[in-house]
């Protein structure tokens, strides 16, 4: 081989020598044919060859840079070839022989065979076994994961575990798939079939179907209503009977009995006319009843009641009468039967007569004796009063002149019935004044002057009657004229209804209207209530226009407390203005209040601000001063701590001995000048609050959100309340709760399932196993 190579190299050399003459471009192109490495090497050789041509060191031997045992005597080294000498090469003859092939094979086999590894030590093996076993078990158990998760998230768990009921099929479906097997069932079905009772779908017999078809919805409704009505009537009747049965009044029962007897008699009479035979029987019955009563020895004055009456009879007239009645009844019963019908008739007749008579008598009595009936009296008096009023008009003018002057202005245009009305009022007020001296009631003078709020009722009646008459006539007038002021129109109507309550508002209205009319009448009269005027003035002065800008201003300067309280607020409009009717002490109090009002003003605000400042100061956290006077220096009375102690640290800008408290959160009333909100914690309430966050929550906001919905029945409907308060676990009393089984949750039986799980994904297991083994082997 080496010879070959040598020959080759020489050949190449010669070629290259030839090529050397050629331009370099050529050479490069030539060498491109071979691989790059080869080319380089050859290039090197070429250079060597060229340099050796020089002649100086033509035979440059391969240099040996290290000590080597192999020193070729022919100066041939394997360095240049770069290939290993393989044993097979040596054995190989020039031409291959079959005998050596076997040896070669054996050699290769020997070479490929590795050494047998040492077995792992016991611990390693055990660890692997454990690991595999763990994986296996974990795999087996992992099938429970969804079940566990579901149970944990479930709102309610019911034990013992019950298998889920299959969906409830409609009864028709069940029946269609079902067959009668037992003789009893068969018999029943026979019966059903005989009666054409359908067993499947619409469970209606042909008769029912027919009836349904026969009756429309309306009819059915009507019939149902009828039935309901009948039932209701029955129940009413029952209730009535029950109630009557419970009545304990003897008198009532007596009356009922009498009524019944009468009725029976009447019926008997009728029966006698219609059916004498039956009547006879009836008569016998009645006779028998009478006999029974006679035999019973009732009404003998021997009963408990009678005995008690007998004791009383000596002193009590009524008792005596009752006893006598009883005795008379007894006599009547014990008498031999006579012709009773006639006497009865007579009795009835007399009764009738009495009934006829009684009302007249009663009426007479009422007419005569029942004097103090207010209604009757009133009518009488009203008549007289009316008569009086007819006479009155002559006296009218003078009364008016004498009367209240306040209404002068209005009175002129007022119609005559109005005059009449006024006149009555005047009279009333006059009377009032005269009565006032006697009256203990501290009624204000204003009230009495303004209108008689406590007039006599009878007078009122008269008035109202009068007004009613006048009203109609005036209405006609009003329609014709149409220019009569509203005062007149409005006044009488309420007067009729409640003169007591509405006298005053009317008056005020009239005044208002007068003012609106702008009549320049001077109100010199002192009786005009001042507050009324004031109220109206205040009503007018704060015009509504500047309202809006003021509001705006207020919004802008919310902070200014002074503004907040001193802003002028529009006074309210009120239809009814209160009369000042004050008691003595109340007046006094008001006086005091006025004084206070006058002086309070600014003080209130300043005091409040001061109070607030104090509160803020008090609530601020305090700094801690740790300086100990005299520690580390001279001590004594009147000595200040040294400058060193008071010196401020350059970094913190604080003394070393002064611990500054952290600034708390901003006060709630920081921006509210008129409010002081207490920042102190309510410890008693805090004791009832939650102070530990339950498990899955990491922030208190999360937990708060889950308890924000109330669960009590006060805030929820009954259903919602029940649902919100269902217990987490429900158990059946008296039932054994077995541990959960694979079948319960729809798996196959456990012994098989382990295997099945492994078989289902054997790949995963094996790969993991392999990995483990590999790892061990590497170790």
């Amino acid at each position: 081989m080496t010879a070959n190579r040598l020959a080759e190299s020489l050949l190449a050399l010669s070629q290259q020598e030839e090529l050397a003459d050629l331009p370099k471009d050529y050479l490069l192109s030539e060498s491109e044919d071979e691989g790059d490495n080869d080319g380089e090497r050859k290039h090197q050789k070429l250079l060597e060859a060229i340099s050796s041509l020089d002649g100086k060191n033509r035979r440059k031997l391969a240099e040996r840079s290290e000590a080597s045992l192999k020193v070729s005597e022919f100066n041939v080294s394997s360095e240049g070839s770069g290939e290993k000498l393989v044993l097979a090469d040596l054995l190989e003859p020039v031409k291959t022989s079959s005998s050596l092939a076997t040896v070669k094979k054996q050699l290769s086999r020997v070479k490929s065979k590795k050494t047998v590894e040492l077995p792992l030590n016991k611990e390693e093996i055990e660890r692997i076994h454990r690991e595999v076993a763990f994986n296996k078990t974990a795999q087996v158990l992992s099938k429970w994961d969804p079940v566990v998760l579901k149970n944990r998230q479930a709102e309610q768990l019911v034990f013992p575990l019950e298998k889920e009921e299959p969906a409830i099929a409609p009864i028709e479906h069940v029946l269609s798939g079902w067959k009668a097997r037992t003789p009893l069932e068969q018999e029943i079905f026979n019966l059903l079939h005989k009666n054409k009772q359908p067993v499947t779908d619409p469970l209606l017999t042909p008769v029912e179907k027919a009836s349904l078809r026969a009756m429309s919805l309306e009819e059915a409704k009507m019939r149902r209503a009828e039935l309901q009505r009948a039932r209701a009537l029955q129940s009413y009747y029952e209730a009535k009977a029950r109630r009557e049965k419970k009545i304990k009044s003897k008198k009532y029962h007596k009356v009922v009995k009498k009524g019944k007897a009468k009725k029976a008699l009447k019926e008997f009479e009728q029966l006698r006319k219609v059916n004498p035979a039956a009547a006879l029987e009836e008569l016998e019955k009645i006779e028998k009843a009478r006999m029974m009563e006679r035999m019973s020895l009732k009404h003998q004055n021997s009963g408990k009641w009678a005995k008690s009456k007998a004791i009383m009879a000596k002193y009590d007239l009524e008792a005596r009468q009752a006893m006598q009645e009883q005795l008379s009844k007894n006599k009547e019963l014990t008498q031999k039967l006579q012709v009773a019908s006639e006497s009865e008739e007579e009795e009835g007749g007399t009764e009738d007569v009495e009934e006829l008579l009684v009302p007249d008598v009663v009426n007479e009595v009422q007419m005569n004796a029942d004097g103090p009936n207010p209604w009757m009296l009133r009518s009488c008096t009203s008549d007289t009063k009316e008569a009086a009023t007819q006479e009155d008009p002559e006296q009218l003018p003078e009364l008016e002149a004498h009367g209240v002057s306040e209404s002068e202005g209005e009175e002129r245009p007022v119609a005559e019935e109005e005059i009449l009305l006024r006149e009555f009022e005047e009279r009333r007020s006059l009377r009032k004044r005269s009565e006032l001296s006697q009256d203990a009631e501290p009624a204000g003078s204003q009230e009495t002057k303004d209108s008689g709020s406590q007039e006599v009722l009878s007078e009122l009646r008269v008035l109202s009657q009068k007004l009613k008459e006048n009203h109609q006539s005036r209405k006609q007038k009003a329609s014709s004229e149409g220019t009569i002021p509203q005062v007149q129109r409005e006044e009488p109507a309420p007067e009729e209804e409640e003169p007591l309550l509405l006298q005053r508002p009317e008056r005020v209205q009239t005044l208002e209207e007068l003012e609106e009319l702008g009549k320049e009448e001077c109100f010199q009269n002192k009786e005009l209530p001042r507050p009324v005027l004031e109220g109206q003035q205040s009503e007018r002065t704060p015009n509504n226009r500047p309202d809006a800008p003021k509001e705006k201003k207020k919004k802008e300067q919310m902070i200014d407390l002074q503004n907040l309280l001193t802003t002028q607020s529009p006074s309210v409009k009120s239809l009814a203005v209160p009369t000042i009717e004050e008691l003595e002490d109340e007046e006094e109090r008001n006086h005091r209040q006025m004084i206070k009002e006058a002086f309070a003003g600014d003080d209130v605000i300043r005091d409040f601000l001061k109070e607030k400042r104090e509160a803020v100061e008090a609530s601020k956290p305090k700094d801690v001063d740790l300086t100990l006077p005299g520690w580390g220096e001279w001590g004594g009375v009147g000595l200040k701590p040294s400058a060193k102690k008071r010196r401020r640290c350059p970094v913190v800008l604080l003394s070393r001995f002064l611990i500054k408290a952290p600034e708390g959160p901003p006060r709630k009333d920081k921006n509210l000048p008129n409010v002081i909100i207490n920042e102190k914690r309510n410890i008693h309430a805090a004791a009832h609050q939650v102070r530990v966050l339950p498990y899955p929550f990491t922030h208190h906001w999360q937990f708060e959100r889950t308890i924000q919905t109330p669960i009590g029945s006060t805030w929820n409907t009954q259903r919602a309340f029940q649902k919100l308060t269902t217990p987490k676990v429900v158990t059946k009393p008296g039932h054994i709760i077995n541990p959960i089984k694979a079948e319960d949750v729809g798996y196959r039986s456990s012994s098989r399932s382990d295997l099945s799980v492994i078989q289902r994904n054997p790949k995963r297991i094996t790969t993991r196993h392999k990995k483990q083994l590999k790892k061990c082997s590497v170790d």
Partner: protein
């Protein structure tokens, strides 16, 4: 008649009409066959209307879903219903024309939702998230149920409406009485009691009973609807105030000297000497507390269920004679002579809040039933309405010629105040709006100055106590029309009352839970939570909830060298640090941005501003 239909039209309308005319009266067991025809033709108008009202399932299920506001976890149930419509039919074969639950309006449901979704929660784990979702789903479900049951509130509030331009205040009681039915008209009456001075009055919580006490010692209680007198006595002492306790069987009377408790027979049960010179009484029904304000300046809470004084608080503001309670949170409002109103709870020695309301002294205070508005009237003749929802600012102010006394709110938010012998009532726009003081809703004049005012619960009636006795006047729209039969039933029998009493006592709210915001009780006590955490850390020596420090994962191929591990750790640490810095910077920016607008642009004229 047309012989042949025009090609453009698919169905001649006339023919259709005829068909409908000829139709037999439908039996209820028969199936409705119309929808099938309706699918092809426009269909009769009746059916169409029907579909508009209530979208039918199969066609536009999505509309239905929109109209119902639920994404309930019932989903698996529905499709099963769908699959076989055969099973939906009952025995009679009739089909439900309105399948599924009835739709509910969203606004009504919104009214019952209580979870505050405006606050954004920090990122939560999957487990927590599922809990939150469950809570939200439950809330929605319950609120839908509540909204659906609103249908049962059959009664509607009354109202008074003037014909165009007519002022309702001009309508007098006589007119109202004439207009209403006899039963309501009988609720207007006057008790003429001139002998025993000005009267204070109080309705029981059910609105069935009325107690009144005259200053000259006349005390009476009656069932005012039937006018049946329960008791009438003269206590021979000045009566300052009178109040029913939890039921109409007990009656607290603030007499000149001490506080007395009578039963409905007029028998004196207790004389509470620890509450002396009481001027005003308030009863907190859910806490069973009787709050008394005395001349000595003490606010005393008496637990009437156990007969113990829970708290006696010194208001340090002199004589107390202005008091009212906030029905929403059971806080007591006291008015003082320095123009402030202070809010009290038995759990705190100091007032919860103090509000400066008037320049003069406060004459009277009233709080509406929702606890949103407070009406105060002062000696400066002003009537103000304050917002109590945190701002405590006046919403509206009016100056009245004589000031207002004894203001009171009705259940539906009407405000009444007495001015001398006139009673003015103001109404708002709706239930939750404050009464507008522009125009009175009603006015009424009495025979004497007003001394006590209260709206009767569940009735459109206002009780007025005055020097001339008691007047019961009709105020349409004052009372809540629907009452809760389990809570306060005007028609309850004695047995029912006893049963209610037991239940109410079992549900008694502890006195210390009274605070300004009752919903704050449903919050976690953060301060003690943090305190507890700190203690735990101290005890264990480490923070169990702290985030575990970053541990780099081991890597292969020589990348898990010590140096690279350190490098990776450093990387994560730096990242965290950078996040922190970024956040703090952002916060600073926010602060600056917030601070800026208040400063606005400096103006040259600013120097003249004081």
């Amino acid at each position: 008649m047309e012989t042949a239909p025009k090609p453009g039209k698919d169905v001649p309308p006339k023919k259709d009409k005829l068909q409908t005319k000829r139709k037999k009266p439908r039996r209820y067991w028969e199936e409705e066959t119309v929808p099938t025809t309706a699918g092809a033709s426009p269909g009769p108008p009746r059916n169409k209307k029907n579909r508009e009202l209530r979208p039918q399932r199969p066609k536009n299920a999505y509309i239905l879903k929109k109209s119902r506001i639920s994404k309930k976890p019932q989903v698996p149930k529905k499709p099963r219903e769908w699959k076989n419509p055969e099973s939906q039919r009952g025995l009679s074969g009739a089909q439900d024309p309105f399948p599924g639950p009835a739709p509910v309006p969203v606004e009504v449901v919104q009214k019952f939702c209580r979870i505050d979704k405006s606050r954004k929660l920090p990122h939560s784990k999957a487990k927590t998230r599922s809990r939150l979702e469950v809570a939200e789903a439950k809330e929605e479900e319950t609120s839908i149920k509540a909204a659906r049951s609103e249908l049962l509130l059959a009664e509607e509030p009354g109202f008074l409406e003037g014909e165009d331009g007519e002022d309702t205040a001009k309508i007098c009681q006589a007119d109202i009485v004439e207009a209403v039915d006899i039963a309501s008209a009988a609720k207007h009456f006057d008790l003429n009691l001139r002998q025993f001075g000005p009267y204070r009055l109080n309705y029981s919580r059910t609105g069935r009973h009325l107690a009144f006490g005259g200053r000259r010692g006349h005390v009476a209680a009656l069932d005012w609807v039937t006018k049946k007198l329960m008791c009438e006595i003269n206590v021979m002492e000045a009566v300052r105030d009178i109040r029913f306790l939890h039921s109409e069987a007990l009656l607290a009377v603030a007499q000149n000297r001490w506080l007395h408790i009578y039963d409905n027979q007029g028998i004196e049960l207790h004389c509470i000497r620890r509450c002396d010179r009481v001027t005003r009484l308030e009863f907190l029904p859910f806490h069973f507390l009787l709050a008394t304000a005395s001349e000595t300046g003490f606010l005393t809470y008496l637990d009437v269920s156990v007969g113990k004084i829970v708290a006696a608080l010194n208001a340090r503001a002199g004589r107390l004679d202005v008091m009212s309670q906030n029905p929403y949170n059971a806080v007591i409002h006291l008015g003082h002579s320095n123009g402030t109103v202070s809010l009290w709870s038995p759990a705190m020695k100091e007032p919860l809040a103090k509000i400066l309301c008037h320049r003069g002294g406060v004459r009277a205070v009233a709080v509406d039933s929702t606890g949103t508005y407070m009406a105060t009237s002062g000696l400066d003749h002003q009537l103000k309405i304050f917002d109590l929802r945190g701002t405590y600012q006046p919403l509206s102010t009016r100056t009245l010629p004589h000031g207002a006394g004894h203001p009171a709110f009705s259940q539906r938010g009407l405000l009444v105040a007495g001015m001398g012998d006139v009673v003015n009532i103001w109404a708002g726009q709706g239930k939750a709006s404050p009464p507008s003081l522009e125009q009175p809703y009603l006015t009424h004049r009495l025979s004497g100055p007003v001394h006590g005012l209260q709206f009767c619960p569940f009735e459109d009636v206002l009780g007025v106590g005055h020097t001339g006795g008691i007047t019961s006047m009709l105020v349409p729209g004052a009372g809540e029309p629907n009452f809760d039969g389990l809570e306060s039933n005007p028609y309850r029998s004695r047995k029912q009352r006893q049963e209610w009493e037991v239940k109410a006592l079992l549900e008694k709210v502890p006195a210390e839970l009274i605070c300004l915001d009752p919903r704050a009780l449903a919050e976690v006590d953060v301060i003690s939570l943090e305190q507890g955490k700190k203690e735990q850390i101290e005890r264990l020596g480490y923070d169990p909830q702290a985030k575990a420090p970053f541990q780099p994962k081991p890597k292969q191929k020589g990348r898990s060298s010590t140096a690279s591990l350190v490098k990776r750790k450093r990387k994560v640490m730096d990242e965290e640090h950078r996040d922190k810095v970024r956040q703090s910077l952002q916060q600073q920016h926010h602060k600056e941005a917030k601070a800026k607008p208040t400063g606005a642009r400096p103006s040259a004229l600013d120097r003249f501003v004081r």
